[in-house]
């Protein structure tokens, strides 16, 4: 039985990249916070870009959390792309179902 190494490589790559990226941003944000502590409340998404421009530590941390949340979603998309290329439609549908469900949850 052949292993599907291409799928494994892409998915593992996306997860690894997401991990490195979010660890870096989170660590940076925490370091900034230690150096200039402030209020620990999270920043609303619409205010995030502005706060990031002002180099607010909590904003950097919030960005890191956002990146972490987006990583599994990026994985679903990457896998869906490969399934689509390999014409494995059941799995493309499953992937879309997951994304739709999460979008629904946010909206509700």
């Amino acid at each position: 039985m052949e292993q599907d190494r291409r799928l494994d490589r892409y998915v593992s790559g996306v997860l690894h990249a997401g991990m490195i990226l979010s660890i870096s941003v989170l660590a940076l944000g925490l370091l900034m916070f230690v150096l200039s502590p402030g209020v620990e409340t999270s920043i609303p998404l619409d205010r995030l870009p502005e706060e990031l421009m002002h180099l607010s530590p909590v904003a950097v941390i919030d960005l890191g959390i956002l990146l972490l949340i987006l990583t599994p979603l990026a994985r679903v998309l990457a896998a869906a792309a490969i399934f689509a290329a390999q014409r494995e439609l059941r799995f493309v549908l499953a992937s879309l179902a997951v994304l739709a469900a999460i979008a629904l949850a946010i909206v509700l």
Binding site: L26, L30, E40
Partner: protein, 278 residues
Amino acid sequence: MDLLLTVGVLLAAAFAGIIGSMFGLGGGIIIIPVLTLGLGIDMKDAIGASLIGVIASSTGAASRYVSEGLVNIRLGMILEPATTLGSIVGAFLAIYLEQNVLALVFAAVLVYSAFYMYRRPEVTVHARRESFCQYLDACYVDQRTGDMVEYRVRNLRRGLLASFAAGNMSGMLGVGGGIVKVPAMNVWMGVPMRAATATSNFMIGVTAVAGAAVLYVNGLIPPVLAATVALGVFAGANIGPRLIRHTAGRTMRRYFALVLIAISALMVLEALGLTGGA
């Protein structure tokens, strides 16, 4: 957050990350009781931070397990719509149900699972074949022996039901639900233990995202606490897979049963702590 608390959180998170990445769990069921009962953190904050920790644990562990070929990606992604839906339903139900009652119910389920897993031997066969399951057949190389292990996946419907229940658990309690997924995959679906835990690690990131995303856009994830938990868990999740690299599936099942019992005890404590403290 003061220094002592930060160190406590980091250690708890690292421990949860190690155990979680070894046994297919997100670590949430360890993190939440430790944060709330051990470190006196508010339950609402603990849940938000825990879900972020589960995503970290899943991402860290799965990036390694996928590259090792242990994860049955197709199986995981077929089960994910069920867990995501379960998570949404669970979150809604949680509004109407008492947290401590939920914790007790799940603790009972876990004890039942523990005995079931401990007593039933692993059965990797070619039993009833649902045609769809043939697409989920997979294989992996056992690192301990260097052999290729092939297996057929069966009982997809039961697996979907279990995934939905695992999602419920995630939405209600802020955990990953892996504690239900691993036995379901291993005992019902014929997935060998090492592949079951790896696939569970892979899946729970997505399960947790539904809850985490909702909390995040509503500003309910405490940034400093969640970041600290995430970093601790990432560290643990990179250590765990190395620790069990050469452990046999049979041994894993025994350890897992013990983990199940320990966690149900933790959940009972949590339930009592909630009634006592509230």
